[in-house]
Symmetry: C2
């Protein structure tokens, strides 16, 4: 250390002499300037490079959990480097992880729809588990909009543990969202259908098509949704959209906005059909409805047995929801996309995408209006509508196409502007007013982004304790930003530096997302994650997060024939061999294959694959897996390790020999 | 512009005054230094940041085409920013691209193995098409090691156009490789089986198991492999490994190394089996064999009809290959992984992973030895073995576990060292000697990488005209480099700056690869790619790269019932509606659905999805697609656009109604 310090001092002195000034950094920094000049970089570029650069071996400060859209996966990304750390296989099989190719098949089957293997999803809104309204880094939930399913991911091993299909509807959008202590996962319908997606003509829309919010009970100890303790609340067949759970001042509430309170049913392009196309039909009214749901009251109604079984699932009827006072509506600017609760839970921000304002509701006023029954009327399904002027706190003109809002620690709110292709920074009022120098409820600045921003995410920006620092614009189009790689272009995640107050909010990085079409994402402080680096013990079964008694151990490897047409294989893998190396079965045998990776070293993953039979596994250190197949194709099939594990990795192989039936 | 120049001059002057020195960059660069200090970055870090930073809107200079290993895909990555630009669905279905979920199913079916749907691959070695030994940016080929298949990707739209299954073997490793004008795609077997992977006991190994190299004829005009003009050459059942085609001085040759010339068959762990495990059994001899194949001679033998049909595929027998003088062997250090031809085609570099040297063969000496029959004997299959000392040019001690070599423009070769976890720079001799100051055939420097490097890639580093500048170490383990995201860790692509001669070769970036397990990759100059940004015309069918006459056009949308149980849908998509919006069919109907995205704007992609029926498509501007299904599940199913296309994207939907059968 002493030598190093001396050397460094020597260099500084040399620099001092060389440039004849007191600026002792200049000599070294001049090298940077030289490279920058060569590459045509400005000082702003260099600042951005310095802010986003994560030197080799240094770790990112934040982690993004991003939906993958119709890739059906979740992507994990480091901030500020914007590097994709990994993909998590969820609704769509993914062969690198072996997801759906030997492991995970039972979990994927839980998500079968109408008895059919449905092997992709449209993941939209990830929700990190929360404790007291703050991310706790333990669980991640995500919805599949296309088939109305929810997946549960364990953040100890970043693997999907459960997929649950909604029995009532076939399309969800307002999910997954969780209350401050993750007692439930909320999932709400969007494109409505008759219960269970049964067939009905469109003329039945008003009477037979239904919206709903499902409250899936999360059993944190088991790490699973407990269907037996879950229920739904019937809603009008509006297109329920994004939602947010209340917290602190609004704890116990669930806010949910909607499109198509017109009950338009489309039909454009069908002969003789006179209805306007959906895009026009659903945008005719000036306002739609914000749903305000008292979920703690709903829980009590459910526990009191006041529900009907529909498709074998308990549903609180719309009538009961109204009579029990757990559902209210209030007008909101038409076709909104975002409803977002402020850090203290005291305000609800709604952005109607066809209105250049965001509309802020006061939770205090909402509570008062509910208590005093300050209704302006009721909707056509009899749901009371709170008087808009009695619950509205402020409206801020932010720009064109406002969609989604997140928050900083200093009284700023950030709203994505789809049509402006910009991020707006604006100020909250109330208790937040004194946290920054600008006046309350005012637009402060807009930063252009490239292009067509959908959602945005600020660091921990939807929790009770937002961090500020970084904001990511989840832009939908990238057009000309990257080398052209076919007509299918990546999305563009742009990193904004929001650490300075006021009008400084520059874009400092463009990150292409060419592996899916992310919608929403959450950004968590990296040190909250407590991921395992190896499985806790040899023979660990990730599907039960415990050692499996069937897991083969060294010296217990064997091939057991059970009856005439059943064979059970017990295999281990370790650098650099599988034991046993030869497996002989007969055509038609039902084969059950157990395999344990007996490694204890970090990163000592082995892959395992069998050709023809469509099997590939990823076995992390300690992991046990089981798969089954019927050996109905005879032949000689080399199996081998697919994960480059050692210098003798290519030698890690063996043969499955399927003897032809006589 | 004038104002901007004045302002900038003013700032410089202010800076000059502020620091009282002639260094006019100091004022602005000090800001960079300040940020760097805050983040704990050294000057070396800042240099690295500046070199890898690609400012918002600026494009990468190079593009990596990387295999995805058992993800079954190809990944496209920008250099120097190391951003993933996109994934290309190849052997494994990928729902973002709709690959295998409505489109691509026929192409995936071409790759069915033994009549089974095999829906993943283990992509290893991508090969960009070449013209005169240089990448031309037109086509990409890649192998599936696990099932012995080759895929063809068109770089106009970055989509897979063909998958072809090898009829002779079930496992390949030495593929895909192409000669300098891409007349063929070479694919060679690794883990050998009897022809067609038929069943045989392991005791038949020496007599009935066979290696082979398949020469797939590539029809560049059609953009497809022409199976009718393709053939194979029988080889001994050694584990043929990596290969490289000759060029310039070695044009017409194909070099292919091998493991397991011991003919070990393993069996470890099976009761009563006394054979050593594969890792020991295949490494007993001090040398294995480099195969030297005269592929132009082989082509003539094939054209002369001197072949046998095996599994309906023409095969030149081993006996004929020897008698026609198109196959020679020569000893090489045991268990090699890389064989790499120098830019002028004059040297062949082989790295035996258990020998700390690379061994360099002279093509001139090889030709002479063949002409003079300078044989040291023959192998047990009667193949002549060229005398090692007569063909060896040099051996360079590079370090432990050498695997793979690429080249720079200045007489340097770069070899990955798996056991050392390092990249070695060493000098070539011959004509290359004068291109750098160091002595010939000498190790110059080793840069540590993190960790366990497999392949490496230098910019255009395996062509006749390497660029230098950048080198990427494709490291297999990342261990502690990134935020922990479960026990399954990403690989680590590290970017090395090789622009300076001599001992300067720093690692300047760590890029996690957490979406597959890449093996080999090629790095092409970005300006060689001529990708389309939209499809050339409305109604374009990417499977035929032409307008499809069946493509629906605006105003021709319709639903046609054909007979009692068949319905044909003709649909268009445009911001923000599908036409028609209602589709009614009867349970049991066979539905054929045609859809055209009529957009002409860049990035105006629409997704299309149907729940339950497992259908999701990505329709780029102009694209036509067709899919079919039997509507056997009755119900009400919303379809919608899955790609966020416009402010009214959520409104872009419709209903498929399947009426229950009576």
């Amino acid at each position: 250390m002493r030598l190093k310090a001396l050397q460094s001092k020597f260099l500084l002195t040399a620099a001092f002499i060389a440039i004849g000034t007191g600026n002792t950094n200049a000599q070294s920094i001049n090298e940077v300037q030289k490279i920058a000049n060569e590459r045509g970089l400005s000082t702003a570029d260099l600042l951005a490079a310095a802010k986003t650069y994560t030197p080799t071996g240094m770790k990112d400060e934040y982690v993004i959990f991003s939906s993958g859209g119709h890739s059906g996966q979740v992507f994990v990304i480091g901030v500020p480097s914007m590097r994709i750390l990994r993909t998590i296989g969820v609704f769509t099989p993914e062969s690198w992880q072996g997801w759906g190719y030997g492991v995970g098949n039972e979990i994927l089957d839980e998500g079968n729809v109408s008895g059919r293997e449905n092997r992709w999803g449209d993941t939209h809104h990830p929700a990190l588990s929360e404790t007291n309204g703050d991310y706790d880094g333990e669980w991640l939930f995500i919805n599949d909009k296309s088939n109305a399913r929810i997946a549960v991911i364990d953040l100890r091993d970043f693997e999907t543990k459960q997929i649950i299909k909604n029995p009532l509807f076939i399309n969800d959008h307002g999910g997954a969202f969780v209350p401050p202590n993750t007692e439930y996962i909320f999932e709400t319908a969007q494109y409505n259908v008759p219960w269970g997606a049964d067939h009905a003509p469109m003329s039945d829309y008003k009477d037979n098509f239904r919206g709903a919010v499902t409250m899936w009970k999360f059993d944190r100890k088991k790490g699973r949704i407990d269907k037996a303790k879950s229920f739904a609340i019937e809603l009008p067949p509006y297109w329920q959209d994004i939602a947010d759970a209340g917290k602190l001042a609004s704890d116990g509430y669930f806010f949910l906005n909607s499109i198509n309170t017109e009950l338009a049913t489309g039909g454009f392009g069908v002969e003789g059909e006179k209805n306007p196309p959906f895009e026009a039909g659903v945008s005719m009214n000036a306002t739609d409805y914000l749903h305000i749901i008292d979920w703690k009251k709903a829980e009590k109604v459910f526990e009191a047995g006041k529900y009907t079984m529909i498709k074998d699932f308990p549903v609180i009827s719309l009538k009961d929801a109204v009579s029990e006072g757990l559902l209210h509506l209030t007008p909101e600017p038409r076709s909104p996309h975002g409803v977002d609760v402020s850090p203290k839970g005291d305000f609800v921000v709604v952005s109607g995408k066809l209105d250049p304002h965001t509309t802020i509701y006061s939770v205090e006023k909402i509570k008062k209006a509910i208590a005093n029954k300050t209704f302006s009327g009721q909707d056509e399904y009899g749901v009371p509508v709170l008087d808009f002027d009695s619950v509205m706190e402020a409206q801020v003109e932010v720009g064109l196409g406002p969609l989604h809002t997140q928050f900083g620690p200093d009284g700023y709110a950030y709203t994505s502007l789809f049509l402006d292709s910009a991020v707006a920074r604006w100020t909250l009022g109330g208790d937040y007013g004194k946290l920054n120098p600008e006046p309350d409820w005012t637009l402060v600045q807009k930063t252009p982004v490239h292009y067509n921003i959908g959602h945005l995410g600020a660091a921990e920006g939807d929790t009770v304790d937002p961090d500020g620092k970084y904001l990511v614009a989840y832009n939908k189009w990238s057009v000309d930003r990257f080398v052209q790689t076919g007509p299918l272009m990546p999305q563009n995640f742009q990193l904004l530096d929001i650490s300075e107050q006021g009008t400084e909010m520059p874009v400092i990085y463009d990150m292409p997302m060419g592996i899916g079409e992310p919608h929403y994402a959450q950004i968590i402080k990296a040190d909250k994650l407590k991921s395992w680096s190896v499985y806790p013990e040899i023979g660990w079964d990730p599907t039960i997060q415990a050692v499996n008694p069937w897991a083969p151990r060294p010296k217990s490897e064997r091939i057991e024939r059970k009856g005439e047409h059943e064979v059970e294989i017990f295999m281990t893998s370790v650098r650099s061999h599988f034991t046993p190396e030869h497996v002989t079965v007969k055509q038609g045998d039902k084969v059950t294959w157990h395999i344990t990776n007996t490694e204890r070293a970090i990163d000592a993953t082995h892959g395992f694959s069998i050709p023809v039979y469509n099997i590939t596994l990823s076995l992390e250190a300690g992991e046990y897996a089981k798969f089954e197949f019927v050996a109905d194709t005879p032949g000689t099939f080399p199996f081998y390790c697919t994960e480059f594990c050692s210098a003798l990795h290519l030698e890690m192989m063996g043969y499955l020999m399927v003897e032809p039936a006589e």
